[in-house]
Subunit: 254 residues, 2 copies
């Protein structure tokens, strides 16, 4: 039951941002990530920093993230950037109305693998209604998170924003088995953090320093540990829940 900081590089399934067993699959109650990967025909891969779009070979426009991190963003004419949301393994990405005139585009933040949601449904035994329903709920949660993010950038202080976001990421990653002992990999640069939270990169840096010095978080080598999440949640007005409330995910086998 430690708060011992450690490196998660060798976490569940390996490299940074790559989910452990399951991931989206936890959400979808599918048994193993290898099973998803067996759909290699329909898995699309992107390098870090790529704009996510799919060719006409994909009839559908809904995708599930198999591994890696992404984000939804807009860049203003003068270069300012706002990140709307982070896309984690298991999240549903709806490219239907995306990337129109740059008002909203999807970017990969790490190496990223996505799979056509329709393929998942079709591959499911039965009518796939369970999977379809899970997808709908995942999409609904994604939308709910927009409101939390709005509260963050609209009404919280810098310290609160950072903690609030870290707490959300914790909960979401935990739901897909990517958290160990309150620690998880955080493959984000401080610039990305700044653009998500509506702060300058310098101020993000200073805020992180303060949180570190006050021993509220440990952040090192791309991994974070949140010490005393209950207290941090109260401090940052974070309400957990609405992430995997009704998780289908069984605890994962080693």
């Amino acid at each position: 039951m430690g708060t011992r900081p450690f490196d998660l590089t060798a976490s569940p399934a390996g490299a940074a941002g790559v989910p452990g067993p399951l991931a989206s699959l936890a959400l979808l109650q599918v048994a193993d990530i290898t099973r998803i990967r067996s759909f290699w025909r329909s898995v699309e891969r992107f390098p870090p920093g790529a704009m996510i779009h799919v060719g006409p070979k994909s009839p559908r426009k809904q995708f599930v993230i198999v591994s890696g991190w992404g984000c939804e963003t807009r860049i203003l004419p003068d270069g300012r950037r706002q990140i709307f949301s982070f896309l984690l393994p298991g999240d549903v990405v709806d490219l239907t109305r995306g990337s129109q005139a740059g008002r909203r585009s999807f970017l990969s933040l790490t190496r990223l693998e996505i799979v056509d949601a329709g393929v998942l449904i079709a591959a499911e035994p039965g009518d796939g209604e369970d999977v379809a329903e899970a997808l709908r709920q995942a999409a609904a949660r994604t939308e709910d998170r927009l409101f939390d993010h709005m509260v963050r950038i609209g009404r919280l202080t810098a310290k609160e924003r950072v903690l609030h976001l870290l707490l959300e990421l914790h909960d979401r990653l935990q739901a897909v088995g990517m958290v160990r002992e309150d620690s998880f990999r955080l493959p984000l640069t401080q610039e990305v953090f700044a653009d998500a939270l509506g702060l300058s990169i310098v101020h993000i840096n200073r805020t992180l320093q303060q949180l570190r010095r006050s021993a509220r978080i440990t952040l090192k080598g791309g991994s974070v540990t949140l010490h005393d999440r209950a207290k941090l949640s109260a401090y940052a007005c974070y309400e957990s829940g609405n992430h995997q409330k009704r998780s289908f995910a069984p605890s994962l086998p080693a």
Copy 2:
């Protein structure tokens, strides 16, 4: 082609926040507001400042605003408040997942009338698919606006935020015929403005003063006039569009 400020109190259909002919109806291509009002059985009314919820007598959970202004909001445990969006005549309000534990609730800002969307569909000659499609598009635009709002509070300065919001409101109100000569009624207190834009009420006041003194806007008696919207749009990084892009609304008869 005037910038002459004037009072819109006697605008289209009368009192503050009440739409002129059409309103949502413009969106829905229905002929006249009186027609909607004839559904008085299914029209629900709220006084200013009320939480919007509907009794079990309404089977559906989607409503269209007939007249008045509302907003979607969250109040933090310590009293801070964030307004997520404004609800104008013609907008679709989806109460499906609303007001759960106060994470997201709908409030009326003026006297408000809403009508069950299902009733509108049923009342339409034919299969009502046109109306249903219009409702879907309205809902999609509503979601798009969340992103604009996020950019506002995350990346714009106070002056930009105010102008950006005013420009959006202009476009939305214009689409339902509630704008005359770049002027429209704005039934919001500065406190509401502040809570929407993530600023303090005092700073909103000072920002408005500056905008007035620099002759960029006229704001008096609850009505605003935007002078040179093109220039203001450029200044505030506002991109019009996505409001009534494909408007069904014919210009309204006097």
